[in-house]
């Protein structure tokens, strides 16, 4: 997927005044946020489980090469194939190649963020295949020709009315001509339309929440059943996954499942949690004949052991974005790429480039709610600050802000000079503020006064008053 993160400011401004988007985002509070809080409150062991989960991921990352090779061996022993891809281009070529060799026409897809990362749909279309998204949220945005705006609920930015119009427009060709306005009818119509696609697919592509080294299995955690129809009905099953999805054993997955479902949707267990291990067995009555896993690096290996290492613990639950006040205000599209909210603000600069996504690490108040709710305890604010540090070092920040910062730091390290200069400045401002006590406009402070009044300083600075009162008798 091509990044439009460089247009963040403009996109954010548009999002803030989009009534449909604001209406849709309003549902997140009572939805994801409230449900998570309720289910976490019900589990006394939640924090202890988080600690264990974090330990499992850390252990795995420290021995990632071992676990990747162990996983590969088990997949192959079960009759599956593992393909390695350093870049999205390599991954696309691999998948298109598999589809060609399978003589495929229609490709059904379960939700896969890694699939978006490698822009697989466009590649499949260009190669003459028909990719069909089957997760309801992904299906909706496929119809709308939009990117996902959330990693769990890709169409969270859409209102029911907008979905009504999309279905009305696109389902007529299947014989559905009535405009459906209620949720049960909308979901039922999607079920019927997509049923035909499931049954006629040649290849099914799913993501993976986890890859299990112990058994060579891939795990998907879903509610709709589309992932399972995608990995069972077609002739060929392809799994797309980032390197960091590896987990040692089924028991380890069991721990992670407990914190994933709760953090993502406020459920104790998703409706369908499926462990897939290889192609159909000789006497099976159904299932694909081929099982392929495409492992994507795309910069993940570079993150190991450096200041962004913690990001590899991410289990893609979406809790961070659900609780982020900035994400709640502007939605996901302003972030410009696959990954949104706090985790996207770390990953997009690392995977796509900091110079074209410079707003992302800065459009954050560092309030820390993301880290607080992260089931893996990832230090997101700290990593955003590290990205700001790279911007500063690479001189990617604006000249004016660098100059202002330099001036402030210069003065801050010279307290007596600071006291004289800043003291004079605030005394002047206090006098200018007069009886009103605030300013509607202030030179050089347009960023502040465009939106707020600026309270006037009270008068002489504290330090100056203190020196006068106590007569300079202190160090």
């Amino acid at each position: 997927m091509k990044s439009t993160a460089s247009e963040f400011k403009k996109s954010a401004r548009v999002a803030l005044v989009d009534p449909d988007l604001q209406r849709a985002m309003g549902f997140i509070r009572g939805g994801f946020v409230e449900k998570r809080r309720a289910v976490v409150d019900r589990l006394p062991e939640f924090d202890a489980l988080r600690q264990v989960a974090r330990g499992i991921k850390e252990h795995t990352l420290q021995n990632l090469d071992f676990y990747l090779e162990a996983y590969e061996k088990r997949v192959q022993a079960n009759g599956g194939h593992v393909h390695w891809a350093s870049t999205p281009e390599e991954a696309r070529d691999i998948i298109v190649g598999i589809c060609k060799r399978a003589g495929a026409k229609r490709v059904t897809k379960g939700k896969s963020m890694v699939g978006e990362e490698m822009a697989i749909n466009e590649a499949l279309e260009n190669a003459g295949f028909e990719p069909v998204e089957t997760d309801l949220g992904e299906y909706i945005i496929q119809l709308a020709e939009e990117p996902p705006s959330h990693i769990i609920a890709p169409a969270v930015h859409k209102t029911k009315d907008q979905i009504t119009e999309l279905f009305h427009e696109h389902h007529a060709r299947y014989g559905y001509t009535e405009r459906q306005t209620e949720v049960p009818a909308l979901v039922d119509e999607a079920r019927q339309v997509l049923r035909e696609k499931f049954l006629s697919a040649d290849v099914g592509i799913t993501g993976a929440n986890f890859l299990v080294a112990e058994t060579g299995s891939s795990v998907i955690v879903t509610n709709e059943g589309n992932g399972d129809l995608t990995n069972t009905l077609p002739r060929v099953h392809i799994v797309t996954a980032g390197l960091e999805k590896i987990v040692p054993t089924r028991d380890d997955v069991s721990t992670l499942l407990r914190v994933l479902a709760r953090s993502a949707t406020g459920q104790e267990m998703s409706v369908y949690t499926t462990f897939s291990t290889g192609p159909r067995r000789t006497d099976d009555l159904d299932g694909p004949f081929e099982y392929h896993v495409v492992l994507l690096d795309n910069g993940r290996s570079q993150m190991l052991g450096n200041e962004f290492h913690e990001m590899l613990r991410c289990i893609r639950c979406g809790a961070c974005m659900n609780h982020c006040p900035v994400y709640q205000s502007i939605g996901g599209h302003a972030y410009g790429w696959v990954y949104v909210g706090p985790m996207g603000s770390v990953l997009t600069p690392l995977m796509v480039g900091l110079d074209s996504s410079g707003d992302l690490p800065n459009a954050c108040t560092l309030n820390g709610r993301c880290q607080e709710v992260c089931p893996m305890g990832i230090g997101l604010p700290g990593m955003l600050r590290q990205l700001r540090r790279r911007q500063y070092q690479d001189r990617l920040t604006s000249r004016t802000s660098r100059a202002a910062l330099a001036a402030w730091s210069f003065l801050a390290r010279r307290p007596r000079l600071y006291r004289r200069i800043m003291g004079a400045a605030v005394a002047t401002l206090a006098w200018l503020g007069g009886r009103r006590g605030r300013f509607r406009h202030m030179l050089l402070a347009g960023g502040w006064t465009s939106v707020r009044d600026l309270p006037a300083p009270q008068g002489a600075s504290f330090q100056n008053q203190w020196r006068r009162r106590r007569g300079n008798s202190e160090p």
Partner: protein, 218 residues
Amino acid sequence: MSGARERVLANVRAALNRAGPLPDSVTRTLQGRLTRPRANLKPAIGDDPLAYFIQKLESVSGKVTRVESIDRVADVVAEHLERYALGDRVALAPDPALDGIPWSNRLMVERRAATGDDRLSVTGAYAGVAETGSLVLLSSPESPTTLNFLPDDHVIVLRESRIVTHIEDVWARMRSDKMVMPRTVNFITGPSKTADVEQTIQEGAHGPRRLHVILLAD
């Protein structure tokens, strides 16, 4: 393509400050973790797993009917078909545990995988998990996966003694039964649903609209 494999593994090792693969002593320990896995922390679920299982499953719209004998299964399924006007065809898993159910003559009971037109399937299950109210189904010739996802309604017959307390107990049982992983292990916890339209929960997405578990006393 093998070029990519070597590249990726080399990048991983370089990032972890390693010149080459791990030493044998370390890999032996790690191998041990894979061949002798241990459960991590399991949350407490009280001392009545059966009641806990039923409560959890019902809380996510799973229907539970308790019966004393396998004969009753025929009646329960017939009632379900009639209640929801699902017609008279049953796709029955070729599971030996489902042999000998006295199906009514008015029903067409076929032992096979599912088709896109099936209204109701009846399968067994390998286990139930009390912690989550889940049913665990292993794919096999006796338990084809499509029966779990294609039909409108899914009925599962489960013996009470097959209920374990936690997810990890399923793996423990598979290991003691010396079972290798089948193509799919499905944990099913209620009927299919989605919240993709304004965060409103709607049951009956792509999988079954209803899940009905018949709990058979031992």
